[in-house]
Subunit: 203 residues, 3 copies
């Protein structure tokens, strides 16, 4: 129940971020809807397809579909006022990647995948919706360039498997690993930390 609420908040944040990028690219309404959709479900879809969970998750969960349709409509109607929501959106988005990371990891564990690859699956679930969004909008995916995003997911993933050595309580593991993702990202943004490009010091 608690996690369902967080899942829905994350989906809302991802959908709205899709709408914002699509509007900037002057897409028509259905283009906007499609971008919102892939931003919200792209990462999980890629994960499911690679593992072999088909039909993919969102095809068996109409709640998520309605949440995406609703958030898109909301974001389009109130698009001029979304700047007031910027902070809340960033918070939802950060909570979303925290949750999606852990969901991705647990999906991998259930499928019997090696821990290192489970961390990769968690990171993919959290980040690749945004990657596909940026590719469809013809931009270099933002996660590759600016933000401590994948890094936060990977650290959360390591935390998850460390905790599994210490406790069997999956709820505790879930919450702490998710919090690590969230805190790392919040701190990084707050302190304006980003990983250096390795290329610059070439010069």
């Amino acid at each position: 129940m608690f996690f369902d609420v967080i899942d829905i908040l994350g989906t809302i944040a991802f959908s709205i971020s899709g709408v914002l990028v699509a509007l900037k690219k002057r897409m028509d309404p259905f283009g906007v809807l499609i971008i919102a959709f892939v931003t919200a479900v792209g990462g999980g879809t890629l994960r499911d397809v690679m593992i072999g969970i088909e039909p993919v998750s969102w095809m068996r969960n109409m709640t998520i579909v309605y949440v995406i349709l609703g958030s898109t409509l909301f974001a389009v109607v109130f698009r001029k006022r979304l700047s007031y929501l910027r902070t809340s959106l960033f918070l939802f988005d950060t909570i979303g990647i925290g949750l999606f990371t852990v969901v991705g990891i647990e999906t991998g564990i259930v499928a019997g995948i090696h821990p290192i690859l489970c961390i990769a699956l968690g990171t993919m679930t959290a980040c690749f919706g945004g990657v596909i969004r940026d590719i469809l909008c013809n931009e270099i995916p933002v996660i590759f360039r600016k933000e401590v995003y994948a890094t936060a997911c990977i650290l959360g993933g390591f935390t998850y498997f460390l905790l599994r050595e210490l406790t069997a309580d999956t709820n505790i593991i879930f919450v702490i690993a998710g919090l690590v993702v969230i805190v790392v990202r919040l701190l990084a943004v707050k302190l304006q930390i980003s990983l250096p490009s390795l290329y610059k010091d070439e010069a």
Copy 2:
């Protein structure tokens, strides 16, 4: 039989549209062939992979493969005269998306997918070959920007499920829903209607 012919006409149109875009990008012959291929089968492949129909449809249908190879050869050889065919091509393409939309919807129904998602699958089948073509050619996918394309597919999809409440004759449903897609698109192009970008009125 009738539908096989239409399916082949649609595949021809999609292949040739792929060749035209690839030639403009100055690709070499095998690049042109690959772009023609993904334009023709990309949408159906994505649909099949998400539902779990594997090997994907075109791997079990050599007729389609030969049609794509033949159309590509034809389009490359007669590339200087293709402008004379522009109207016929547009017609094939429009018939193609009409058919592909309904095929996508019916594939979803057989797999037990929710109607709203079947409409999404139909739209994906019709439109995402062109989306992948544009991504491979490093352009913002044209369907997100200019034409009443996805919109026509979505309207055809709603028609499909409306008709299912009224009749059990799947042939009639197939033909009418496909015609809705085709007519909406023809009218939109004829009357130069396109959905407004939501961004413009920001200014």
Copy 3:
């Protein structure tokens, strides 16, 4: 055993080529890792997903995962000296596409796919890692434009099925078909042959 070594050499070469492209785009360390990963496994992943081999191959082969992690670390640390390795890298890469082409073909044969499509699968396995790398970096995939790359794979594929008419010794077929890919590519680069763009002679 012999093939395992070649497989690993190919994976190293592909990972490093991913690192080089990602560094040029000024990506952060995790961006670089992700690009290295998709360059090495992207083609095989696409093949596996389309055929229905899931979880995809690299999720069941930790050796490959460690090889990619190690090569990426190596390439990042020694990035300033990689230009000395350019020739060796090109050789690894060429050996890699030779091997990956034949691996892709054999995967298709095992899955009961038609020979023509097996050649397509082999070409996809060898080339699409680089295609996905270039898309993530927002460039027109290089294989579509400059090099005799897909062409070498396709010629190797035809050789594979020709030889199957002549002998039942799959090891011989494997080696000769792989060599055809390698020799065609080496010769083409040596003699600076590339397929002409079909568009130029339009003028």
